[in-house]
């Protein structure tokens, strides 16, 4: 299936909202770190329900926020969740960004980057559209060190790229982005049952669940354009 088909289905059965709720546990910390100044133009790659752009308008007074998604149904839902006219949604592809060179101050992307058809091309595109000093905040739960995420590919028809932290840093540099930081942001909010409750449907042991959420959490890599 294509990104469009796969994620149109997700949007139609309400998974856009489910993801927003779960991803917010760590995404809010990523957003808080971004050096967005009042009036800045921000792009959310693979915006899903579009929560990130809405949050950056509210908390940092971003000037204009674009949410780009490859699924028309996702973009349509996102449009429905706000009537802020400074928030724009558009349908597009990560490897073919419809923005002029140097036109974006900062890019955010959560749990979406690794669906890119060619993630190296996506990074080059991000670098192209960022102004000098603009940043890319790239957050993923699916990555090599997070062994608990490896099986996710089995239930998703779109091919996923599984890089390690080191591969993210290298790929950023190859695309001409300086790596400013890399971090694991723990999810402290997903509830973890008592040890007596294990094995559960999803988890063999409590330790594994603790490692997945409290230790590995979300891998954040921050790049800076020049």
């Amino acid at each position: 299936m294509s990104v469009r088909e796969e994620f149109n289905e997700w949007a139609e059965d309400g998974r856009d909202k489910g993801m927003e709720e779960r991803h917010w546990h760590t995404a809010k910390y990523v957003l808080a770190r971004m050096p967005v100044e009042a009036g800045d133009t921000v792009l959310d790659l693979g915006c899903g329900s579009g929560y990130a752009g809405r949050a950056l308008r509210d908390t940092k007074n971003a000037g204009r926020v674009y949410g780009l998604d490859g699924s028309p149904e996702m973009a349509h839902n996102a449009r429905g969740y706000t009537d802020d006219s400074a928030v724009s949604y558009l349908v597009g592809d990560f490897d073919h960004l419809p923005f002029e060179d140097g036109s974006i101050d900062h890019v955010f992307t959560m749990e979406a980057f690794y669906y890119a058809n060619d993630p190296h091309e996506t990074l080059r595109e991000v670098r192209r559209i960022l102004r000098p000093g603009g940043t890319l905040f790239c957050a993923v739960n699916y990555y090599e060190e997070n062994i608990h995420s490896h099986e996710w590919q089995d239930s998703i028809s779109v091919e996923m790229t599984r890089w390690s932290g080191n591969e993210y840093r290298e790929a950023f540099r190859d695309a001409g982005l300086y790596v400013a930081e890399q971090d694991n942001i723990p999810d402290r909010e997903t509830e973890i049952p008592d040890s007596a409750a294990f094995p559960t449907d999803s988890w063999d042991t409590q330790d594994a669940m603790v490692e997945r959420y409290r230790e590995f959490g979300t891998l954040l890599t921050v790049g800076v354009s020049t």
Partner: protein
């Protein structure tokens, strides 16, 4: 929308608005001034996928 460009050749787009509401274009077309490719705006959302991905 002045920083939005053609996803293929990154050239300027020309807007043909069919329906507008409160300064927002609800339906219309964006046409690349360079390659002539046309991108639809539906329900206020421009579809800037490369044409071969639009129905993929």
């Amino acid at each position: 929308m002045d920083i939005i460009c053609c996803p293929l050749d990154k050239q300027e787009l020309e807007l043909d608005a069919r329906q507008e509401e409160a300064e927002e274009v609800i339906f219309g077309t964006l046409t690349c001034t360079q390659c002539g490719e046309r991108y639809p705006i539906e329900d206020g959302i421009p579809n800037l996928l490369p044409p071969d991905m639009r129905e993929a």
